[in-house]
Structures are given as C-alpha cells and as structure tokens.
C-alpha cells in the first residue's frame, strides 16, 4: 500500500514538473542577457524595456480588451437567458436545441473560424474588430450557458415557488430570488468567457481584418518571426496576469461562497 502510494506520488510530482517546468523556464530566461543563446549570460530587464516601447503591442492589448469586454457582455446576457429559458420551458425538439447550442464546445475551432470567415465574406461584411467580437460572442454563449445551467439545475424550485406564494410576480421572484442565487455561476461564466476571449487565437485569426490585431495575433506573429527574448518577457507578463486573474476568481468564489 505504502509502496504503491509512493509510486503514485512520484508519478504525480513528475507530471507537475512537466506542466510547470516549461513555464518556469520561459519566465527565468526572460531575464537572460543573451539574445540568442539558451545559456545563462547574466540578468537584464532590457527585453521588458523593449516591450514597453512597442506601440503596436499596446494597440493589440487594447483591441483584445475591447473584444473581450464586449463579447463577454453579449455572451453573458444571451447565455443566461438561454440557460433560464431552456431549463424552465419544454417544447418539442428541445433536446435537439440543447445539443445544437453545445456544438461550439465540441467542433474543431478551425471549423468555426472558416465558417465565420466564409459567412462574413459572403454577406460582404468587411473583417474588423466587429466581426472578431461577433465570433467570440458566438463561442462564448454556450460557455456561459453551461455554467449557469448547471447551477440552475441544483437550485430548489421550491425557492421560487415560495417567493410566488409570498406575493412576488414571476419576474420579481426571478429578480429577487433566482438571480442572486445564480450570481456565483454568472460570475464564473463571465470570468471564463472573458479569459477564453482574451486567449482565443484561431477564431480571431480567421475573422480579423487589417488593423484589428489582438494580443494573441501579435504574439503569434512575433513567434512566427523567430524565438526571441522579448517573447519570453511578454509570456512572463501574460503568465503573471493569468495567475492574478485566477487568484482574483478564487477570492471572489470565497467571498460568494460565504
């Protein structure tokens, strides 16, 4: 038993090393003075300074944030209403609709990208940040919906009935009882959709036009032009930001859980 346990622990720690070592390496070498070598040649912050003076990078960050905020807002409103609507109503063919709405979660992202590209070209809408935002909202609706629906399913229907019994209208019951109880799930959905949008490369790649470069597109073009310490520095910053977002979401969960 103990031997087996020890073996499992070593295997698990090895897995953890596999998951974290590459990220750690990136961060460490973002401070390496050498431009080309993977050997340690002394500490420097020059790559960060170079990033700080890259105006295209800031424009890309701005674009990404804009797309993420707007697409998350759209996806949240649509996703929550879809979750409530599908959970509360019964109509013929509902299972088909349920399944269809989950499609973006399972079909290859490349497929979504080309479909949207084709669509926008066919209806002769020029590719821009607007088309990118529409695409992001499309794949984020099911993300929000799935999270909210899981929570909705666990809610006791008697709660809303109790509100109705105490004189609330259907809307009041939803607004005053159900919605507050759903808020942790909605916040979770918002965070998830926001992150997925910020990180998305493929759908953006197909739906972005000239001048609508987002951060992942910028990162991609930097990587494509060759390994360089600036990418390490940018990666380190992105890792830091995502860690901060996780910490924030943990804190919010704890606050909401109480």
């Amino acid at each position: 038993m103990t031997g087996q346990r020890r073996w499992l622990r070593s295997a698990s720690l090895a897995n953890l090393l596999f998951l974290y070592a590459p990220i750690a390496v990136l961060v460490v070498f973002s401070f390496n003075a050498s431009r080309l070598s993977a050997r340690w040649q002394g500490f420097t912050l020059q790559w960060y300074q170079m990033l700080a003076s890259d105006e295209a990078l800031f424009a890309a960050v701005q674009n990404s944030l804009l797309v993420a905020v707007v697409s998350t807002m759209i996806a949240t409103i649509l996703g929550v209403s879809a979750a409530v609507g599908l959970e509360r109503s019964h109509f013929p063919g509902q299972r088909l609709v349920d399944g269809a709405l989950l499609l973006p979660l399972v079909i290859p992202e490349v497929m979504m990208g080309v479909a949207l590209l084709l669509f926008f070209v066919m209806i002769q809408v020029p590719l821009s940040l607007v088309t990118v935002t529409i695409g992001h909202a499309a794949f984020n609706v099911p993300v929000v919906m799935v999270i909210v629906r899981a929570r909705l399913r666990k809610l006791d229907p008697a709660l809303e009935e109790a509100a109705r019994d105490l004189g609330a209208t259907a809307w009041q019951a939803f607004r005053r009882v159900t919605l507050p109880l759903l808020s942790p799930a909605i916040i979770g959905g918002v965070l998830m959709a926001f992150t997925v949008s910020l990180d998305d490369f493929i759908v953006t790649f197909f739906t972005a036009g000239p001048g609508s470069t987002t951060l992942p597109l910028k990162v991609y073009s930097m990587i494509k032009s060759g390994v360089s310490p600036e990418i390490n520095a940018l990666s380190a910053i992105l890792v830091l930001v995502s860690m901060a977002l996780i910490a924030l979401s943990l804190v919010m969960q704890r606050v909401n859980g109480k």
Partner: protein, 268 residues
C-alpha cells in the same frame, strides 16, 4: 429566445454555408462557382491528403494514449489524497490551462529548438555533441499536444475515481487480487466513463489542432487543421477546404455519439 437567434445567424448559418459550399467549385480567381458536385469529397482521397489525415489521427491517438498513461496515476493520486490537498492539486492542474495556449506552445519551441534549452542542458553534461533537432517534428507536435491537453484528461478521470467507492477496491484486494488485477478487474471497469470522457476531451481538440502543429511541426508535420487553413487562406480553394472541414466535424460528432452510447450503457 435571443440566444437562439444569435447562434442561428452567427453559428448555424455559417456552418450550413460551409456544407453548401463544400459541394460547389473553386472559381477562377479564388471565389466560389455555384455548381453541385461531389468532386471535393472525391478529391479528399488523394494520397497526399490521406497522409495528412492519417498523421492527424495517429498523432491525436498517440496524444490520447500518452495523456491517459500520464494522467491516470496523477488523477488516482489526487482522488485518494486528503480533501484539502485535492483542492490544491486540482488548482495546480488547472492553472496552466488558464495560461495562454500560444505562450505554452512557445515554451516548447524555446526548449526544443536546435540551440534550445534541452540541447544546451544535454550538451553541457556531455550527453550530446552535435545539435539535436526535435523541434519541427512529429515528436515535438506530440509533446506540445500532450502538454496542452493533459488537464482535459486528468479532470474527468479525477471525477470518476473520486466517485469510486474505496471499499470496493479494498474488497478486491481482500479477495486475493494483486495490484494489477485490482486495477484491471475493478478500478478500470468502474472508471470507464471517466476514461472515455477524458479520451474524447483530448482526442477531439488534438485531431483538429492548428496552433501546435503550426508552431512545433513545421511543413513536414501538417495536420488536418493546418490543411484547412492552407486551403482557405493560401490556396483559396474554399469549396475543398469546406469539404475537409465537414469531414473533420463529422468525425468528431461520431466520436461524441459513441461516447454517449457507451455512457448510457454503463449508467444502467
């Protein structure tokens, strides 16, 4: 329902368009010529493309198997750890997943390139003398895919193992089963839904992967995702690209259908 309208216009309509165009032909200057033919689907059988599908399937299958082999012990260990530690471990598994995928893939470029960290470390301890080329190979793609999708394997496995009654495992042990028999005869059959879910969650994105083969694989390790992109943006043969996309989606949906069939059977 507004969501249905949005999804109808911006998802189902585009997908339908892909299906329709997959039966059309490429126009002279890259556009679409509205004819009806099965030519695009027949063209897919070209050995050049067949090799790419085969590589995609093989790499996705290998990724799935490696993730399963790495992920099972990890998931088992987490599921049997004290509750406090379970939360910590799960968090640790999820954090890399929240880190930008491009960044995580780039990390492996940095490590695997010919003068990269891997080579530097190996040569400094004298294991290799000449540069080793791992980047831009199928091996590099496999490493990248496993790295990217391992959490997708671990989470459903964890959920299945966590639900597995400890005393059932002890009962097998008490009834003379050795470590391996306990695993094969009891643990594996009872966690099958989790295994299948994990395999699908890894296989589906792997088979349609684009970034990983694009960055780590180079020209020789093209996968279906790259082929679609290539047909759309480089060759500009949209009808043919659409046909390939549709075939890929059909493959994925069949996989999911199989999963649900197995799951409902196990749940009885």
């Amino acid at each position: 329902m507004p969501a249905l309208v949005w999804m109808g216009v911006f998802l189902f309509l585009p997908l339908l368009l892909v299906l329709v165009i997959s039966f059309a032909a490429r126009g002279t200057y890259g556009g679409v010529e509205w004819t009806f033919s099965l030519a695009n689907y027949l063209n897919m059988a070209d050995p050049l493309y067949l090799r790419i599908y085969a590589r995609s399937l093989a790499l996705a299958a290998a990724t799935t198997v490696v993730c399963l082999l790495l992920g099972f012990p990890l998931a088992y260990y987490i599921a049997r750890a004290p509750a406090r530690w379970q939360a910590v471990w799960l968090m640790l598994i999820i954090i890399p997943f929240w880190t930008n995928f491009l960044v995580r893939t780039y990390a492996w470029m940095f490590i695997l390139r010919s003068e990269g960290l891997f080579h530097t470390v190996l040569s400094s301890v004298g294991l290799v003398t000449s540069p080793i080329e791992i980047l831009y190979s199928d091996t590099a793609v496999l490493i990248g895919l496993v790295y990217g999708y391992l959490p997708f394997m671990v989470l459903p496995l964890y959920a299945a193992i966590e639900r597995l009654d400890r005393s059932v495992v002890e009962a097998a042990w008490d009834l003379y089963a050795s470590g391996w028999s306990v695993f094969w005869r009891v643990v594996l059959p009872l966690t099958k839904p989790g295994v299948i879910a994990g395999c699908l969650l890894v296989f589906i994105p792997s088979v349609g992967a684009f970034i990983t083969p694009d960055l780590l694989g180079g020209a020789r390790s093209m996968m279906v995702g790259n082929l679609i992109q290539h047909e759309y943006l480089v060759v500009r043969d949209w009808p043919f690209g659409s046909a390939i996309s549709f075939a890929l989606m059909a493959l994925v949906l069949v996989g999911i259908a199989v999963y649900f069939k197995v799951e409902t059977k196990v749940a009885v």
